[in-house]
C-alpha cells in the first residue's frame, strides 16, 4: 500500500502533464497562422500597394491566360488559323485550322474558363476597392477605371465569339452558378455603360509612360469598337475622332517602329513578365528554315499584298531553301534577347479603320476613303479612288485591314463578322459553315449549368 502511495505521489507531475495535454484548450492548440504567400482580402484593399498588386494580377491574366494572350493558346493566334491568314504544317491536327472546333474542344473550353476567371478577378477587384474605407476616393479612380476597362475587354471579345453570353458583375457564386445568358445586344449595351464609366474614371495621361496601363483613349478605342458592333456609327465616329485628334498618338512613318516599345501609335501594350522576355508573337510566328515547323502565312494572305507594299517588305519575312519559299509574320523582330518590344494590344491605326467604317455606314464613303488612304500612303501604296461605292469600299477596308492587322487580335475574323462577310472564307476553308461565326459554349459548362442551354446554332 505504501508503495502505491509513493508511486502516486512520485508520478504526480506526470498526471498533471497528462491532464494538461488532454484537457487544455483545444481551440488554441489548433490555431494556425496565415501562410506567407496569402493575404486576407480585407487587407488587400487596405492599402494602395496591395491593391496595385491585385490590379497587376488582372494584367497578368490578360497576358498569360488562354483567351486574350498573344501566345498559341490565345484567340489572336487561333483566329488567324481559323480564318485564312495562316497555314498549318505540324504533324498533328489543329481544329482551328480545319474549322472543326466542337463543344468538347479543350482550348475552346479554356478560353471560356479563363475569360470568366479574369472577369471574376476584375469584379472582385472593383467590389473590394469600391468598398474600401481605407483608400481615398481620388486614389481609387484610376485603378477602378482600369478594372472596368479590363472587364469590358473580356466581355467584348466573349460576346463576339460566343454571341449570347452570361453577363455578371458580381462575385456571388450562387448567382453565378445558375446564371442565364444575356442577349448579345444587351451585353453590348452593358459594356457600353461600363466603358463610359471607365472613360470617366481614367485620365488621358498614362499612369506609366510605356503605355502599359490603359488610359482614357484606350477605353475610348474599346468604346468605339462597341459602337461599331452596335452600329451606333455617329457615336463611333465621334469617339474615333477624339482619339485621332489627340496628338499623343501619331502614325509611325517607319513601319519597323510600329511594334517597338516607344511607338507613338500605341494606345496600350502589355508589359512582359521580365525584361528580356521576347514577345509571344515572335515565338509563335518566326521560323528560320523549311518546312515551317508549325505555321506560315497563307498564300491567300500573301496574294493580297502588292509587291510595293512596305508592310510586305517590313512586316513579312521570306524563308527559302532555294526551291520553296514560305513566309512568316515579322512585325515583332526579336526572337531572342528582346529589349525593345512589348506586345501591342491597341494601336491608333485601328481607330482610322473604325472611323472609316463608321463613316461609310453613314454613307460618307468619300470622307472615309481619306482615312484609309492615310494608312495606304504610309505603306507606300496609291490612294484609293474617291469613286468607290460603299460595297466596294467595304471590300477594300477588309483587305486593307488584313494587310495592316494580319496575325493581330483576330482582326480578320472580327472584321469579316462585323461586316457580315464571313462566308467568303468558304472559298479557302473547305469545312467552313455558317455556324462557325460563333464558337460553341463548352459542353461541360452546359452540363453543369443547364440555364446556358441551348448551345449556339449548329453545335
Amino acid at each position: 500500500m505504501k508503495n502505491i502511495n509513493i508511486l502516486f505521489k512520485v508520478y504526480h507531475p506526470v498526471w498533471i502533464v497528462l491532464f494538461m495535454l488532454t484537457l487544455c484548450s483545444c481551440e488554441q492548440l489548433i490555431e494556425t497562422d496565415l501562410p506567407d504567400n496569402q493575404v486576407t482580402r480585407e487587407d488587400v484593399f487596405k492599402d494602395m500597394a496591395t491593391a496595385e498588386a491585385a490590379l497587376t494580377n488582372l494584367y497578368i491574366n490578360v497576358r498569360e491566360n488562354p483567351f486574350l494572350t498573344k501566345n498559341t493558346n490565345g484567340i489572336s493566334y487561333n483566329l488567324s488559323l481559323y480564318t485564312d491568314e495562316l497555314d498549318y504544317f505540324a504533324n498533328n491536327l489543329n481544329d482551328f485550322y480545319t474549322n472543326t472546333v466542337e463543344a468538347d474542344h479543350t482550348l475552346n473550353a479554356s478560353w471560356w474558363d479563363y475569360a470568366y476567371s479574369g472577369i471574376y478577378a476584375a469584379n472582385d477587384f472593383i467590389e473590394g476597392l469600391s468598398q474600401s474605407a481605407f483608400i481615398a476616393e481620388a486614389d481609387k479612380k484610376a485603378f477602378l477605371g482600369e478594372a472596368y476597362f479590363i472587364r469590358s475587354l473580356y466581355y467584348q471579345y466573349l460576346c463576339q465569339l460566343y454571341g449570347d453570353i452570361p453577363y455578371t458583375l458580381t462575385t456571388d457564386y450562387v448567382y453565378n452558378t445558375a446564371i442565364a445568358k444575356t442577349s448579345y445586344a444587351e451585353v453590348l449595351i452593358q459594356i457600353e455603360k461600363d466603358l463610359k464609366t471607365a472613360v470617366d474614371l481614367l485620365d488621358d495621361s498614362y499612369r506609366n509612360q510605356q503605355r502599359i496601363y490603359p488610359n482614357q483613349s484606350a477605353a475610348k478605342l474599346l468604346l468605339a469598337q462597341n459602337y461599331l458592333l452596335q452600329k451606333k456609327y455617329e457615336e463611333a465616329e465621334k469617339t474615333c475622332l477624339e482619339i485621332i485628334n489627340n496628338n499623343t498618338y501619331q502614325l509611325e512613318s517607319d513601319l519597323d517602329k510600329v511594334f517597338k516599345k516607344e511607338a507613338k501609335s500605341t494606345l496600350w501594350q502589355l508589359s512582359s513578365n521580365s525584361d528580356t522576355d521576347n514577345t509571344p508573337e515572335a515565338s509563335a510566328y518566326i521560323f528560320v528554315s523549311l518546312p515551317p515547323p508549325t505555321v506560315a502565312l497563307s498564300t491567300e494572305l500573301l496574294n493580297i499584298f502588292d509587291a510595293s507594299d512596305k508592310r510586305k517588305q517590313q512586316w513579312i519575312k521570306e524563308v527559302t531553301d532555294g526551291n520553296l519559299s514560305f513566309f512568316h509574320a515579322y512585325k515583332y523582330k526579336n526572337k531572342e534577347n528582346n529589349t525593345d518590344e512589348y506586345a501591342v494590344f491597341f494601336r491608333v491605326e485601328e481607330v482610322y479603320f473604325m472611323l472609316a467604317e463608321a463613316l461609310t455606314y453613314q454613307n460618307r464613303t468619300a470622307e472615309a476613303i481619306g482615312y484609309i488612304n492615310i494608312i495606304r500612303q504610309r505603306a507606300g501604296l496609291n490612294p484609293l479612288p474617291d469613286s468607290l461605292n460603299q460595297d466596294e469600299f467595304i471590300d477594300e477596308i477588309l483587305k486593307e485591314s488584313q494587310r495592316e492587322f494580319f496575325t493581330e487580335n483576330g482582326h480578320r475574323f472580327f472584321d469579316l463578322k462585323r461586316n457580315g462577310k464571313l462566308e467568303i472564307l468558304s472559298i479557302v476553308k473547305p469545312n467552313w459553315q455558317n455556324k462557325h461565326q460563333l464558337f460553341p459554349i463548352p459542353e461541360r459548362q452546359l452540363q453543369i449549368n443547364p440555364n446556358l442551354q441551348p448551345n449556339n446554332n449548329g453545335y
Partner: protein, 999 residues
C-alpha cells in the same frame, strides 16, 4: 503521507532509484538454498538459442546460448518456464540439476496472431473490427518498388490500381469503394509505425506528364523492411482515427529486433521488366493504304505540303516498330540489402540498409534509385514494467526520367516515320518535318525525395493494471523536382538557341510532429476482462515550398544551375500549417472470452475548418460472439472456431486542404511592370464542416478441422454524407469549384469472402491457399435537388458515382461510312440530353487466389489477381483513320469502304472532311469507347529454395526466382486493362532472380 512534503528533486531521485531497481537485480538477494540447473533446449531438429528460461513470478531468468544450453541458479521446487516465439511454452517444477527440454512448435496460430489496430493491438480471435493483414512473407521478396504493388489482389475489400509502369509513380487505392464525389478525396490515411505520413506531395505538379496523377508516399519505404501491413476497414477499427478514418487506414509496421543471436542477412536480387503486351498497330503497308484511301476518298490527287509521310519528305516504305523503339527496352532493377538484427530478452535491435535501382523501358539509361535505412530498437526493463521502442525509417529516392511518357508517341507515330538519329548521333529532324519523339528525352524530369519517419513508443506499467504510454513521432519530407527544357527539344526550324532553354525547379518540404500520451488499464477478474485506453493526439504539420524558373542560358551545359540563367524568376513561395488535436478512448469488455464488446470514440479538432466548425465527434461500437466457445460446440470435431461480429459507427475526413475557409489573395502568377501579382485564392466558404461516414458491418468467421480451413464472410454498408468536396461549379463563378459539404449520400456496400486452407500437410509436403473475393456496390442513394444542381448531368440516383454517360453508338451508315448515334430527343444534334447510356466503371468484383506449395526446402508460390470491370478502350484514343500522320491499331484496317459497308470502323478521311472529324466528338463519348476491361492476371509467381547449413554457420540460404504480371487473360481492347488514365506505361512484366543469406 509525509512524502508529500518532500522536495521535488527527491521525487526524481525516487524515480531514478525505482527505475534502477526495476531494471537491475542482484542474485545475492535470493541466495538461499540455491541449486544450479543446467540443460539444453531443442526443437524437434536442433538446439534452440535465445529461449527464455524464467523462474516464475520472479526476476530470475536467463536465455539459452548458441547451442541451446542454459544455466540457472534456483531454489529447488520452484517453477521454471521455457518460452520461445512460435513454440508452446512449457512449465516445469525443478527437482534435479539437469533438465533437457524439447519445445513443440505452436500450431494454434490463430490464437497467437496479434493484429495491430493502431492505438492498440488485439488478438485475431478476439478482434471485433474488420482488419485485413499482409505480412512480410508476402512482401519482402517481391521485385517491386512500392509495397502497394506487392499487396495487390491479396486483401478483400482493397482495390489497388497502378497508375504507371514507370518506377517511382503512384497507385490508386480504394478501400471498400469510393466515398467521395471528388476522386482525390478518397485517399486513405497512411501510418508508418504510429506516425501519420503526409501524402500531399502526391499531387506534385511537374511530374504529371511522366508519372501520371501522383507519386505514392509509400515509395519511400523499402518493402522488405515491412513486417506487416494492416488495413483497417470498418467503423470499429477506424473510428479511433475519427476524422481521418473514412477512407480506411493503412498501418505499416516495420520489422523489429528479436531475441536471439546476432543475425546477418544479405539479400540481393536482379529483375528484368518489359511492357507486358504491345498493341497491334498497322504496318507500313496497311498504314500507307489507309492514308492513300483517305486522300482518294476526299478526291485529293496531290498530297498536301505537310503530308510528309506520303509526299516524299519521308521514305514512304520505311518500317519501324515504334513500340519496340520507344517503350521496348528491358528495364533492369537491382536490390541489395544488408540486415543486422539481434538482441536478448530485454533489448532488441534491427538495422537494415538497402539500395534499389531500376531503369525504365524508355530508350534511356536513367531511372529510379532509392537508398534506405531502417533502424529499430526496443527495450524492456527486467521487471517488464518499462518498455521502449523506437524506429527510424530514412530514405533518399531520386528519379531521373524523360519529362514525358513515350507511350503515346509509341502508339501513334507513323510506321514510316524517319530514323530517330542521324549518322553522327544527333537527333534526326528530317529537315524539320519530323517531330522526333526522342527530343522529349532531352527534356528531363528529375526528383529527389528524402523521407524520415521517426517514432518513439514508451510504456510504463504505472500501477498493477495501469499503463502510461507515449507515442511520439516526427516526419520529415523533403521533395524537390526539376524539369529541364533545353532548346534542343523543339524543331531547329524555329531557330531557337540556348537563350530559349529553360529550367524549372521546385522544392517542397513537409515536416510534422506528433505526440500521443495514452493511459491504458487492463483488468482481468475471473471471467471478466476489461481493457480501457484513453489518449490524446496533437499533430502539427508544416509545408513549405517554392518554385524557381531560370530562362535564357548562355549554354545548355549550365541549364541545371538556375543561377546561371540570365532571367531568374521565383514563381511561387508558399507555406501552410496544419494543426490537429484530438482525444480518444477505447473500452473493451470481454466476458469469458466469448462475448466481446468494443467501444471507441474520438473528439477531433482540425485547423482546416472555420472557427465554428472545428470540432467533431466520432465513435463506434463493435461486438463479437465467439460461439465456438459455447458448450454445445466446444468439442465439435469439425468446427474449430466460430465467431460472429458486428460493428456500427462514424468516421470522417478533413481532407480538404488547408485554409479553404478563408477569403484570401495569394501572391504569385508573375510580374507586370515588375509588380508582383496578387490573385484571389478561391471562392471561400466559411461554413463547411466535418464530413461523416457511417459504417456498418456484420461478419462471420468460421474455421474447420483444426483450423485447416479458415473462412470469413463480411457484409458492409457504408454511407457517406456531407462529404467535403470541391463542389463543381460552372466557370462563370470564376472558379471550377468551391469547398463545401456535398449534398449527396453515397452508399458503398458489399460482400467480402476469404477462404484460407491447408489441404495438404505432411512432413515434406505442404499446400496452402488463400482466396479472397469482394463484390463492391457503389450507389448514390440521395442527392436533394439533383435536378437543379451542377451535377444534374453527371450523376444518377441509384447508380454508382463512378459512372460515365455516353451516346449510344448505332453503327455505320452503309452509304457514307459515317458513325451513327442515337438522337434520343430528335433535335438533330448530339447534346447532353442524348447521353442516355450509363456505364459504371467500378469493379463489379475483384479478388485474388494465392497458392503456396512446398516440398522439403522448395516453395512454389503464385497469386492470381482478377478484376471484373468496364473501362475506356482504344477507341477513346484514336482519330479518324488516315486523317493525320498517325498510326492506328490494326483493327482499323477493317474500315468502311463501298465494298465493305459493314465494317466496324468508319471511312478513311482527310482534314478536308469536317463531317468525318466532327463525328469523332460523339464517337469518343459513345458507348463504343467503353467496354469490358476485366482481367485475370498471374500477378506473382515464385519458386524458392531454402537450405540450412549449420556446419558452415549459415542459418539459411534462400535462392528464388520471382515473376510479376506474368500472364494476363483479358478481352480488353487496348494495351493493358489496368490503368487510371490512358497513355502511360502499363504495369510491367517482371522476372527476378534473387538470393538471401542469413548467418
Amino acid at each position: 503521507m509525509k512524502t508529500i512534503t518532500q522536495p521535488k528533486s527527491k521525487h526524481r531521485f525516487y524515480l531514478l532509484l525505482l527505475i534502477l531497481l526495476c531494471s537491475l537485480h542482484s542474485p545475492a538477494l535470493f541466495a538461499q538454498q540455491q541449486i544450479r540447473v543446467t540443460g539444453t533446449v531443442k526443437d524437434t531438429d536442433a538446439p534452440l538459442p535465445g529461449v527464455t528460461v524464467w523462474e516464475k513470478d520472479t526476476n530470475n531468468g536467463t536465455l539459452t546460448d548458441e547451442n541451446g544450453k542454459y544455466s540457472l541458479q534456483i531454489t529447488p521446487g520452484s517453477i521454471v518456464t521455457f518460452s520461445f516465439i512460435g513454440y508452446k511454452t512449457q512449465t516445469h517444477i525443478i527437482s534435479g540439476t539437469t533438465l533437457n527440454i524439447t519445445l513443440q512448435p505452436d500450431e494454434a496460430v490463430l490464437d497467437e496472431v496479434v493484429i495491430n489496430a493502431g492505438y492498440y493491438s488485439v488478438k485475431d480471435r478476439e478482434r471485433t473490427g474488420s482488419i485485413a493483414r499482409v505480412t512480410a512473407k508476402d512482401i519482402e521478396f517481391q521485385p517491386v518498388v512500392n509495397p502497394l504493388q506487392a499487396i495487390q489482389g491479396r486483401m478483400a475489400g482493397v482495390n489497388i490500381t497502378q497508375e504507371s509502369g514507370t518506377p517511382g509513380g503512384g497507385f490508386e487505392i480504394q478501400i471498400r469503394g469510393i466515398n467521395s464525389l471528388q476522386r482525390t478525396g478518397n485517399v486513405p490515411l497512411y501510418i508508418i509505425d504510429g506516425v501519420p505520413i503526409n501524402n500531399d506531395y502526391v499531387t506534385a505538379s511537374l511530374s504529371k506528364s511522366i508519372l501520371n496523377t501522383g507519386i505514392s508516399p509509400l515509395n519511400s519505404i523499402n518493402p522488405s523492411d515491412i513486417e506487416s501491413i494492416e488495413i483497417l476497414k470498418d467503423a470499429d477499427a477506424t473510428a479511433i482515427y475519427g476524422s481521418r478514418g473514412a477512407n480506411g487506414v493503412i498501418l505499416i509496421t516495420t520489422k523489429k529486433g528479436k531475441a536471439g543471436k546476432t543475425r546477418f542477412t544479405v539479400s540481393s536480387s536482379t529483375a528484368f521488366s518489359k511492357v507486358n503486351r504491345f498493341m497491334k498497330l498497322m504496318n507500313t503497308e496497311q498504314f500507307n493504304q489507309m492514308r492513300d484511301e483517305a486522300f482518294a476518298n476526299d478526291g485529293m490527287t496531290e498530297y498536301p505540303p505537310n503530308a510528309y509521310d506520303m509526299n516524299g519528305a519521308w521514305d514512304r516504305n520505311r518500317y519501324t516498330d515504334w513500340q519496340k523503339e520507344l517503350i521496348g527496352r528491358t528495364a533492369m532493377s537491382n536490390n541489395l540489402s544488408l540486415g543486422i538484427s539481434g538482441g536478448n530478452e530485454y533489448t532488441g535491435f534491427i538495422v537494415s540498409l538497402a539500395h534499389h535501382q531500376s531503369t525504365t523501358v524508355f530508350p534511356t539509361d536513367k531511372g529510379y534509385k532509392r537508398n534506405s535505412a531502417s533502424i529499430g530498437f526496443n527495450h524492456r526493463s527486467k521487471d517488464n514494467r518499462f518498455q521502449l521502442g523506437t524506429s527510424t525509417v530514412y530514405s533518399v529516392q531520386s528519379n531521373d526520367l524523360p519529362a514525358v511518357d513515350l507511350t503515346n508517341p509509341a502508339l501513334t507515330l507513323a510506321p514510316n516515320a524517319p530514323e530517330l538519329y542521324n549518322e553522327d548521333g544527333t537527333l534526326n529532324w528530317q529537315d524539320g518535318t519530323f517531330q522526333n519523339p526522342l527530343a522529349q528525352l532531352n527534356k528531363t524530369y528529375g526528383n529527389e525525395t528524402k523521407t524520415l519517419v521517426l517514432n518513439t513508443n514508451l510504456s510504463y506499467n504505472l500501477l498493477s493494471d495501469f499503463y502510461l504510454k507515449l507515442n511520439a513521432g516526427i516526419t520529415n519530407n523533403y521533395f524537390d523536382e526539376q524539369v529541364l527544357t533545353p532548346h534542343t527539344i523543339v524543331n531547329p526550324a524555329l531557330g531557337h538557341t540556348s537563350e530559349r532553354s529553360q529550367s524549372q525547379k521546385s522544392y517542397r518540404s513537409f515536416n510534422s510532429y506528433l505526440i500521443e500520451p495514452q493511459l491504458e488499464w487492463n483488468k482481468k477478474t475471473g471471467v471478466h476482462s476489461f481493457s480501457v485506453l484513453m489518449g490524446s493526439t496533437y499533430q502539427v504539420s508544416n509545408n513549405n515550398g517554392y518554385t524557381l524558373t531560370g530562362k535564357n542560358f548562355s549554354s545548355n551545359a549550365l541549364i541545371t544551375n538556375i543561377s546561371a540563367a540570365k532571367e531568374r524568376i521565383i514563381n511561387q513561395m508558399n507555406s501552410s500549417e496544419y494543426k490537429y488535436a484530438a482525444v480518444f478512448a477505447r473500452v473493451n469488455y470481454s466476458y469469458n472470452n466469448k462475448y466481446i464488446i468494443n467501444l471507441t470514440g474520438r473528439r477531433d479538432g482540425s485547423s482546416r475548418f472555420g472557427n465554428n466548425n472545428r470540432f467533431g465527434n466520432f465513435g463506434a461500437i463493435g461486438a463479437a460472439w465467439i460461439f465456438s466457445e459455447e458448450n454445445v460446440l466446444k468439442n465439435s470435431r469439425w468446427l474449430s472456431f466460430g465467431k460472429l461480429r458486428a460493428s456500427y459507427g462514424t468516421t470522417g475526413s478533413d481532407n480538404v486542404g488547408d485554409y479553404a475557409y478563408l477569403d484570401t489573395y495569394t501572391a504569385g502568377g508573375g510580374y507586370y511592370n515588375s509588380v508582383f501579382g496578387l490573385y484571389p485564392t478561391r471562392l471561400f466558404n466559411p461554413d463547411y464542416h466535418w464530413e461523416k461516414t457511417t459504417k456498418r458491418e456484420v461478419s462471420a468467421e468460421l474455421n474447420f478441422f483444426h483450423d485447416r480451413i479458415r473462412t470469413s464472410t463480411a457484409y458492409y454498408n457504408n454511407r457517406s454524407s456531407n462529404q467535403l468536396i470541391g463542389l463543381q461549379l460552372p466557370s462563370t463563378t470564376g472558379f471550377n469549384s468551391i469547398t463545401a459539404n456535398s449534398p449527396a449520400t453515397v452508399e458503398n456496400s458489399g460482400w467480402e469472402f476469404t477462404l484460407n486452407a491447408t489441404p495438404l500437410k505432411t512432413k515434406d509436403w505442404m499446400w496452402e491457399f488463400s482466396f479472397n473475393i469482394s463484390f463492391p456496390k457503389n450507389k448514390l442513394i440521395a442527392f436533394p435537388d439533383l435536378e437543379d444542381s451542377t451535377y444534374k448531368n453527371t450523376y444518377v440516383i441509384g447508380k454508382s458515382i463512378n459512372l460515365v454517360k455516353l451516346y449510344h453508338y448505332e453503327g455505320i451508315d452503309p452509304e457514307t461510312g459515317l458513325y451513327q448515334f442515337t438522337d434520343y430527343n430528335e433535335d438533330g444534334k448530339f447534346t447532353v440530353d442524348d447521353k442516355q447510356i450509363v456505364k459504371e466503371l467500378d469493379p463489379k468484383y475483384y479478388g485474388g487466389w494465392q497458392n503456396t506449395l512446398s516440398y522439403k526446402n522448395f516453395t512454389f508460390d503464385f497469386l492470381f489477381q482478377f478484376v471484373k470491370q468496364d473501362n475506356y478502350n482504344l477507341n477513346a484514343n484514336y482519330n479518324v483513320p488516315g486523317i493525320a500522320l498517325q498510326n492506328a491499331p490494326e483493327v482499323m484496317t477493317n474500315r468502311w469502304s463501298p465494298d465493305n459497308p459493314d465494317a466496324p470502323y468508319g471511312a478513311a478521311a482527310t482534314t478536308k472532311n469536317s463531317e468525318a472529324i466532327n463525328q469523332m466528338t460523339p464517337f469518343r463519348q459513345s458507348d463504343r469507347t467503353v467496354s469490358d476491361a476485366s482481367f485475370i492476371r498471374l500477378k506473382n509467381a515464385s519458386l524458392s529454395y531454402v537450405v540450412n547449413l549449420p556446419k558452415a554457420k549459415i542459418e539459411s540460404l534462400r535462392l528464388y526466382i520471382q515473376g510479376q504480371n506474368l500472364l494476363t487473360f483479358t478481352h480488353y481492347l487496348g494495351m493493358d486493362p489496368e490503368f487510371i488514365n490512358l497513355g502511360y506505361i502499363p504495369p510491367l512484366r517482371t522476372y527476378a532472380l534473387g538470393m538471401q543469406l542469413t548467418f
